[in-house]
Symmetry: C2
Amino acid sequence: MLPSVKLDLSGERFTVVYRARYDGTDPWEVARHIAVEQTVEFPADLVPEGDIRDHVVGRIEAMEVVDERHVDVTVSYAVEITSFELPQLLNVVYGNISMRAGVRVVRLDVSERLLTAFRGPRFGRDGLRDLLGVPDRPLLCTAIKPMGLSSRELADLAYRFALGGIDIVKDDHGLTDQPFAPFAERVPRCAEAVARANRETGRRCLYVPNVTAPFEKMLERAQLAKAVGAGGLLVAPGIIGFDAMRRLADDALGLPVMSHPAFLGSLIALPEHGIAPAVLFGQIARLAGADAVVFANHGGRFAFRREDCDGIVRQALAPMGPIKPSLPTAGGGMTLETVGEVCRSYGPDIVVLVGGGLHQAGPDLVESCRAFHRCVSEALASPSA
Amino acid sequence: MLPSVKLDLSGERFTVVYRARYDGTDPWEVARHIAVEQTVEFPADLVPEGDIRDHVVGRIEAMEVVDERHVDVTVSYAVEITSFELPQLLNVVYGNISMRAGVRVVRLDVSERLLTAFRGPRFGRDGLRDLLGVPDRPLLCTAIKPMGLSSRELADLAYRFALGGIDIVKDDHGLTDQPFAPFAERVPRCAEAVARANRETGRRCLYVPNVTAPFEKMLERAQLAKAVGAGGLLVAPGIIGFDAMRRLADDALGLPVMSHPAFLGSLIALPEHGIAPAVLFGQIARLAGADAVVFANHGGRFAFRREDCDGIVRQALAPMGPIKPSLPTAGGGMTLETVGEVCRSYGPDIVVLVGGGLHQAGPDLVESCRAFHRCVSEALASPSA
């Protein structure tokens, strides 16, 4: 037997609510599994007495029957077990238990002290609005693509988007460092093209290149982006980790960060598993520093449901101690026809991302961007339409 | 309309087989969605003519009906679109399409040229066996835990495990930099404890600390681990990204890397979605440099099925161009009772990971490790039992 242990713990705990399938068996089995698996991962009867058993093992705080197949289990954890580091926080919330089918994180309540370990978005909603000089309307966003165009052609697209009044022109998330448009060539050209358009319009469109990159190249690319006048950084935390995004947001670069959902889909696609979109995009991405967080709007090509999207928007903007709100960014198959509905359902604190839809709207991209603006203005003018 | 584009492509392509649910609708719809989504993400009718349309867009190479609800779609991609970088390879294979429910990667055929972009495991199966001086039997692995023990207590466990003949003593993946056993204190003590046991036994047990860490601290911790004589590095690529693992494996540190499955569960837990375990653990983790790759054995606490595990073991050891084989590592609720079955079903090229089960086997851990050895020897002596 291991000896009894006395630890110096603050007593502060944070909680996670898991919706767990129990299929008519004992719901306490799955609750106990979660509490042990996410902490000591040790035979329950052999856990040392004292503070490990009493405080380090997850504590089942509540158990609520949802329906005959599901329970909501609230588990609290001592803040110290996270090391106050994002990777270990993610591990405690959903590391090993992700391998058990039918356990979904539906709520995360990060305690005050734990929140102070994270800076969250450097700019957030208000900072991003200040950078853009757009105090209160929905922000317009698009992406330069398709992959395969040259840096010059992509820069030309960026120029026309900025000229037409788009607020945020981002790289398609598939543009990295391909030989046909290498990062070190594409990013300076696009940044210059957007700056030129800004001089002509008097607006402050931001060009946001993709810095989802190999470990040793990410900061290098971010620094290059900053040096040539990019206005933000796009990153896919599903691919290179939420903590890499935090690093970009913490960096003295001082650029806003936009989170892209690629490779995160398995966490949200199936309603009985993974992490609720409101938690993943509205809380975790925000803790990890996303000033704007892209999700795929419902009714598009993907598995997001209306309540998922409502939850993301609500949670990204909800109070969260000292952590600034992120701007939710609705994309994924949006067209000029659906822009109005998006603005009306989510309200003004939204980034509307229309990608291919702008090309579908007609051959004159500058004019299509203006039409995009009109769709937003009309939606604001008739909010109940 | 965008202009026709001529690109300088090699013509080499790699292929991914997706098992897609089509529910009685047109299976070509999902096939076309994948091919477009994973590449140009652009309205198909507006994709520029020439090489983007002909070569950059994913090419549907085959379509095979699996049953009345599923098809296997083989899509090939030009190697250039990966930038020959792991993050973008992952994005092409499963980035956005992860957000469509019911699409699973079931096979990945990386082309020769693309394989040469990755070094894979530095040691691999044979290198790890050389380090340990164990040419042909299954390797014995355990973890120091539970979280909450002090560095001294964890080091004492590591010493006893090494004394009892364990080959690989790893940190529990939940041990990071908690105040009760900080990395900079725990790792030197455990490394020293294992070295001391090695001097007594004449064996070469490896201590493998967990370096799943914030972006800016990962390499620092790996370097500290190396400096104090650790024998390998444990990392959870689901948390900090597969490319972070590649960075550790590529590093001049020259330590073997062990991959832990935490936070990857959503990719494998549900049979209609995600990435087949054989591909995720047997190919992607291997491309990303894992010398040993931990998975949870079937029949334990998690969602792995027998065929999943068989697939991981087969694929981790299968020929893959210049990439060395990884050693599959079966864990997740193993006890001394199940060790024999594991050895018999997977054969000698396996790492058997018994964690809490060693504590359950009795109060004398050194003796339990010896019993673990006997279980392995007996299984080898009676392979058909």
